[in-house]
């Protein structure tokens, strides 16, 4: 195929050229072809699954793990591709344990399955140092550990403590552990958002559930944990100048205030009017606070980058 240039004087701005179309066709046919082929293979095994001997079933899973492991260790590939390959490897371990549970009818509780899976892949997750894989690992461990928490008033406190431990680990551990790079900002931000979300949920629950007030000590502990989490989130968002996290603080405050208004104000005209005035004032105040802070941080960042480029040019 000829290489083509966008037509001179063309009225079609920003359209794909010949190279882009070639790339599109290659990606499209490769993705569709491999996807259909994989689906066909899976359906083939699914149809014949009951007829297969248990050693064959387990053998297929083990063979896949060994094949992907061999490819990861021997084939030259970019760092990112290798991390994706290790992620696939970790997924296949889960497949193996699922087949094992089905073949031997272990009737294990689901949290045992997730914990086993997580334990088996811990070393690979650590070595890969790939934060999307760490996120999946945390989910697996959580699905294994959280069902073990006692289902009483301590549940929420333990849940917040559990989240805080993970967050603290990823903030402080990279300074002391080898091969653990500093986590990207999206990772820590999302951990803080989830933790802060739990804190907001706890506060809203305390507002609405009067029965909890009978367990004064535990309620106080829950609120104290929520306060600690909130303070930590404020500290981190201001330190990192993270507008997303900063905004989520205000979203949480908005939700808590709405819960207070719904609980305390009547549902008649006067109550609704007061609620409307307070909500409007809160929303306007929140929006302005975020906008002002965003402009301030944006200005600071642009000044920092300007100074840096002046220094670099000077060198």
């Amino acid at each position: 195929m000829d290489n083509s240039i966008t037509l001179p004087g063309s009225d079609q701005a920003k359209t794909a050229d010949a190279k882009a179309w070639l790339r599109f066709l290659q990606v499209f046919t490769l993705t569709l072809g491999s996807g259909l082929m994989l689906a066909g293979i899976i359906f083939f095994f699914a149809y014949n699954w009951e007829l297969m001997h248990r050693f064959v079933k387990l053998g297929i899973a083990v063979a896949l793990i060994l094949a992907v492991f061999a490819v990861t260790m021997t084939v030259k590939m970019s760092d990112f591709t290798r991390k994706i390959a290790v992620s696939v490897l970790c997924g296949l371990v889960g497949v193996f344990w699922a087949i094992f549970g089905q073949v031997y009818q272990t009737t294990a509780d689901s949290y045992v399955f997730f914990l086993t899976w997580a334990c088996c892949i811990l070393v690979w997750v650590y070595i890969a140092d790939f934060y999307p894989l760490w996120a999946i690992f945390i989910v697996l461990v959580s699905m294994g550990v959280i069902p073990l928490f006692p289902d009483n008033s301590w549940f929420l406190t333990l849940l917040m403590l559990y989240g805080a431990v993970w967050t603290a680990f990823f903030i402080f551990a990279p300074k002391y552990l080898l091969n653990l790079s500093a986590p990207p900002s999206w990772f820590i931000s999302n951990m803080f958002v989830i933790e802060f979300g739990m804190a907001v949920f706890v506060v809203c629950l305390v507002i609405f559930r009067e029965t909890d007030m009978l367990n004064g000590g535990i309620t106080a502990l829950n609120l104290l944990m929520a306060l600690v989490v909130t303070v930590a989130t404020i500290w981190y968002s201001l330190r990192q100048k993270n507008i997303w996290l900063y905004s989520m603080l205000f979203v949480g405050a908005l939700i808590v205030l709405e819960c207070v208004f719904i609980k305390c104000l009547t549902h008649e005209f006067g109550g609704l009017l007061l609620h409307l005035i307070l909500s409007t004032a809160t929303t306007i105040g929140t929006a302005f606070a975020i906008a002002v802070q965003y402009q301030k941080w944006k200005k600071e960042k642009s000044e920092t980058s300007t100074n840096q480029s002046v220094i670099d040019n000077g060198k």
Binding site: M1, D11, L30, Y47, L254, E258, L272, L276
Partner: protein, 322 residues
């Protein structure tokens, strides 16, 4: 008409989330307050609706600097929602006429407003309201019979064709450069793509006329592109390949439309719409294989054979382009 809208380039999306959430709460409270006092007095709803929309347009036309955009958005966005909500409540007994009015008002508000984000939301709203006009006309807005009605299917067909036509027309962006919608082509493409894909749900899976129509459109697009970039013997091979690919999508409407959309989206390098149509295509191809009346083992052979064909096509393209 000049495009002197203030662009919301500097508003971070967390701020938009906060404003969105706060706006919804304010609207809900106001609607509740009015409903308590007014109850069935539709005239009051009409008056409030008109006042809210006029105020919203007035606020969004205020000649402020970009720094004051947050203020204008905070006021105009809830006012627009209040206006349209009260309009619905007032006209709930004459739904088709109300929806037509809402559509006209949305377009008018778009023309008169100056805040970029507001205009984007109004465009999206207008594109979503249009199919609902047909649904309510055939009395299927709140019933589950919509999917069995031939009139609905024809209406959806017509809307999809119209929207895809608008989508394709945005290739010639110089046509729109001096108009009010010149800065909103991406929004138009997103809205038309999303609505077209959603309306696919109401096209019956055995509607081969629809599938053939869009397969022909895809083939025409492929031919235009091949003539632009390929010459000689390869052109004929290209035509044959394109014909085979497009003919294969003619079996199923849920595959034919997304392929057309993917070609147009990639032509315009609009990756958001490309993702929308790609997801629709994957769903379409999944439904196609699911609906096939054959044993699972035969389906697996068919899937492997289809996969092998596409992989062959991949290797062929790689070979001829070396």
């Amino acid at each position: 008409m000049e495009n002197n809208s203030h662009k919301s380039k500097h508003l971070p999306w967390p701020l938009l989330i906060v404003m969105g959430l706060g706006g919804v709460i304010i609207v809900a409270l106001l609607v509740g307050m009015v409903a308590i006092n007014v109850r069935d007095n539709k005239i009051v709803y009409v008056v409030f609706s008109v006042i809210a929309i006029i105020l919203a347009i007035a606020v969004s036309r205020s000649d402020e600097s970009e720094d004051k955009e947050v203020k204008s958005l905070l006021a105009s966005y809830p006012l627009f929602i209040i206006g349209f909500t009260f309009g619905y409540i007032a006209g709930i007994d004459f739904l088709t006429q109300t929806l037509v009015l809402q559509f006209v008002v949305a377009l008018l508000s778009f023309a008169l407003s100056k805040i970029h984000l507001c205009r984007q939301m109004l465009l999206c709203y207008a594109s979503v309201v249009l199919p609902f006009i047909f649904f309510s006309y055939f009395d299927h807005l709140f019933s589950g019979r919509a999917m069995k009605d031939g009139n609905i299917e024809m209406s959806c067909f017509a809307i999809i064709v119209a929207y895809m036509g608008i989508f394709a027309a945005t290739i010639k962006d110089n046509w729109f450069a001096s108009t009010a919608i010149g800065d909103y082509l991406k929004t138009i493409r997103f809205a038309t793509a999303a609505v077209s894909v959603a309306l696919l749900w109401f096209i019956h899976r055995d509607n081969t006329a629809f599938a053939i129509f869009f397969a022909i459109i895809s083939f025409v697009i492929a031919c235009i592109l091949l003539r632009k970039y390929v010459t000689g013997k390869r052109l004929i091979e290209g035509y044959v390949l394109a014909l085979l690919c497009c003919a294969s999508t003619a079996a199923y409407p849920a595959m034919a439309l997304p392929i057309t959309g993917m070609l147009l989206s990639f032509w315009l390098l609009d990756y958001v719409c490309l993702v929308i149509f790609s997801v629709a295509f994957i769903c379409g191809i999944s439904f196609f294989y699911y609906d096939l009346q054959m044993l699972l083992i035969n389906k697996s052979y068919l899937l492997m054979a289809s996969g092998a064909l596409f992989l062959l096509a991949f290797y062929y393209i790689k070979r001829v382009t070396k």
